[in-house]
């Protein structure tokens, strides 16, 4: 199999041709019929709810979907998996009329159709819960639900109807929610509920859920799956996108795998395994084992005490959090995203001011409720790989070499008086490009044009090469392909081996468990428990859901 080639950066045409040959032979095992063009049909689903044929879509230079074929049986739950950026959301958005395919055919209930806009999708019985919620924050639940389906020029009658209908739906699917609550003030779990209700309110027969569980605790996810099963049993069709193979095995009937914009395989869930799916997803057999040697743990380099952080809206997001990270140690912070991890990192790194709290950094005690800025923290030996490199870690308009000094631009080695020493900066950027294998190896291209993995490497190189004592690192492998993940994990282990203190925030339990020496779990701003790396996923999952077993016992 041409698996090696898929790590080659960039314009992977060679990879496609090589891989394509091998694809059919895998597929042949499960797919009953393959036509001349390699299109597959699944026999049992005689009446497919959805059929996509040869759908392609590109965004400027990025081909998000390439000649996609997909068949979704009526009354089934169909999973779609694939790495970040594989094109799953794009494909679903095409199905929902949000984007227009550049080419290809869509069939709904065996009839060729076009979906020019979301309105038409809704009319054809498609509902979608988007990865990034499509809710109007200042609106109430009710207003969000009826938006676009108000049932009359005046709101009054529609609202009364909707209120009734909502209550019915809530009862039927066990999804209670206050219809007059302002959506922006609801927790994410409930916001998602609103999204689902929106789709059901419009009478969707086909429900698309794009990574619905990313923001849910395991028990909330279970509840969601129960609902999905009820829907399926009522004859509705569900398309479920997720990264979590376990969920796929749990709830779906069929699963399709996407990689790099292509649909590489479809399987009956019952006839496949997690191992096979993982392999299909990344194009080679995966062994996400990180080599974690014994390292002698030294004195605490970072100590946080009684940290409280309030957000712009005045909501307390971090509540009385205390911990320490020692030299040669990786402390993992697990938790469903949105439970205060981002605010914690922002406060520690000096980006936002805390309500109260102290931090001891390399022996110096800082009052975090006093004004600090990120530059100051850096001079004290703390560096920070932010969770969201697009929003924070990089200035997309800047060239690579300019990004390579972001936050360190005031360091003497980069300046000549008030001027930047561009020669020195470029020289160092060049060295790092080589060391971190950043591709393409140019200092002059703007950050926007590097792919996700390479962007992350630019940030990592910058934050690691300044030789900090303490490294804060948030979601280090989000949106990053498997080769880069390995590389990044190794770098983190190197830091640990060098006796640095690493604070790792990730929503990927796998990642946390394989890298950390200790794990603390955050829920609703609180640290709800501490575990060793050997803790089971179930154990951590419960903590993440806010169930503190120790307390319960």
């Amino acid at each position: 199999m041409g698996s090696v080639l898929c790590f080659s950066w960039g314009w992977g045409n060679a990879f496609e041709t090589v891989y394509f040959e091998s694809r059919n032979e895998i597929d042949a095992q499960v797919i009953d019929f393959i036509d001349q063009k390699g299109r597959a049909t699944v026999a049992e689903s005689n009446v497919p709810a959805i059929e996509l044929i040869g759908v392609s879509k590109s965004f400027g230079p990025v081909q998000a979907n390439k000649d996609i074929d997909l068949v979704v049986g009526k009354g089934s739950i169909h999973g779609i998996i694939g790495e970040n950026g594989a094109g799953k959301s794009t494909l679903m958005s095409i199905l929902y009329g949000f984007y227009h395919a550049d080419s290809g055919t869509i069939k709904i209930d065996d009839k060729t159709t076009t979906i020019p806009d979301s309105k038409s999708a809704i009319a054809q019985g498609i509902g979608m819960v988007h990865q990034h919620f499509m809710l109007v924050d200042p609106f109430t639940v009710l207003e969000n639900v009826i938006l676009g389906a108000e049932g009359g020029a005046l709101l009054k009658d529609g609202v009364a109807n909707a209120r009734r209908e909502l209550k019915r739906l809530a009862d039927e699917y066990d999804m209670t929610i206050d219809p007059d609550a302002v959506v922006g003030e609801l927790p994410v779990g409930l916001q998602q509920r609103v999204e689902i209700l929106k789709a059901l309110y419009r009478g969707a027969d086909i429900l698309i859920l794009d990574e619905p569980t990313g923001v849910l605790t395991p028990s909330e996810a279970d509840h969601l799956f129960r609902i999905l099963r009820v829907l399926r049993d009522q004859g509705k069709t569900v398309l479920l996108i997720t990264h979590k193979l376990r969920e796929i095995m749990d709830v779906t009937d069929m699963v399709s795998v996407m990689r790099r914009g292509e649909m590489v395989a479809s399987r009956k869930t019952a006839q496949t395994s997690m191992e096979e799916l993982a392999e299909l997803m990344v194009g080679r057999s995966v062994l996400l084992e990180v080599d974690k040697p014994e390292v002698e743990v030294g004195k605490p380099l970072l100590k946080v005490e009684g940290l409280n952080v309030r957000d712009d809206r005045g909501v307390m997001r971090v509540k009385d959090v205390s911990f320490e990270v020692r030299a040669g140690e990786v402390l993992g912070i697990a938790g469903v995203s949105g439970n205060g991890q981002s605010e914690l990192l922002a406060a520690l790194s000096g980006i936002t001011r805390a309500e109260s709290g102290k931090m001891e950094l390399s022996g110096e005690t800082l009052d975090l409720s006093a004004a600090h800025n990120a530059a100051e923290m850096r001079t004290k030996g703390m560096s920070h790989v932010p969770e969201d490199r697009h929003r924070m870690g990089l200035v997309n308009k800047f060239a690579e070499y300019e990004n390579s000094i972001l936050g360190y631009h005031r360091e003497p080695k980069y300046s000549k008086g008030m001027f930047l020493n561009k020669d020195a900066i470029r020289k160092e950027a060049k060295e790092r490009i080589e060391k971190y294998d950043i591709r393409p190896p140019t200092t002059e291209m703007t950050a926007a044009k590097f792919s996700g993995g390479n962007q992350q490497k630019i940030v990592l190189a910058r934050e690691i090469e300044c030789n900090p004592d303490v490294l804060l690192i948030g979601q280090p492998t989000r949106g990053v392909d498997i080769g880069a993940i390995e590389y990044i994990h190794n770098r983190i282990m190197d830091m640990r081996a060098q006796g640095k203190a690493v604070l790792l925030v990730s929503v990927e339990l796998e990642e946390i468990r394989s890298l950390s020496d200790r794990i603390i779990v955050m829920f609703d701003g609180n640290v709800v428990g501490e575990r060793g790396p050997e803790a089971t996923e179930q154990d951590l999952g419960l903590l993440m859901a806010g169930v503190n077993q120790e307390a319960a016992e």
Partner: protein, 322 residues
Amino acid sequence: MLDTIILVLDSTFRLSTPLLFACLAGLFSERSGIVDIGLEGKILGAAFAAAAAAYVFQSPWIGLLAGIMVSVMLALVHGYASISQRGNQVVSGVAINFLAAGLTVLLGQAWFSQGGRTPALSPATRFESLTLPFADTLANVPVLGPIYANLISGHNILVYASFAAVPLTWWIIFRTRFGLRLRAVGENPSAADTAGLSVTLLRYRATIICGILCGFSGAYLSVAQGAGFIKDMSAGKGFIALAALIFAKWKPVNAMFTCLLFGFLDALAIRLQGQEIPGIGEVPVQVFQALPYVLTVVLLAGFIGRAIPPKASGIPYVKERT
């Protein structure tokens, strides 16, 4: 004393009216996510068209109609630039302001040869003051009489229209389907889009309403309050209306009170100018002339702090980042 108050308030109404129309115009536009600093230009264009048409057709109503048409046309230019072409909305607004300032005078000169002015309008071709029923009979009733006769009665129809537009706007924005959708596209256009709504169409509709209201504002200046068009006669009202909109936090009833406040400041400045102020003495007139602007800054800075605009305002809606 009561008389003085009534007179200042009376003047307040007259001065608030064009602001109120423009402010509501901006409200529709910005609620839908389109920032409009071209209000000024639209008012000016409308004032010119209204005066020209009122003169040519000898009818204020035709004038009003022409004013609305021209204002809507300018609004559509802004809409095309900022909705269809996803251009910078502030820049487009600046361009509209220049365009109106230049074209009105240029065409005015070409058509009427009076240095860009339109010929003066006779009373019959203007909106004249209406005397409400019983105003004269009730005038002698103490306190309420003068208030009714002098303050409430005796304005032209556009003044009443502007105040009537406030509850209407409120009702449209908060009680109709269109209003709900409008607010949605201003806050989160993607949400509206995925709900099956056309962001483009909604925003165009908001822009057109904005144009219509600016048309009223302009027509008021040239065929109701004034009697003909004079170059640059909008004199910054569009900008003040924008400031009022921010101050009103994009809410119609607030907008009315803010415009009344700005009108009142203006009226007060006019009233106090050239008079000894107790304890201070005579203040240079320039102080009064700058007063509304200074107060705007002070109010923006001190009282409302960070006013949070509709989240998507000023940002072109781009679905596919190609």
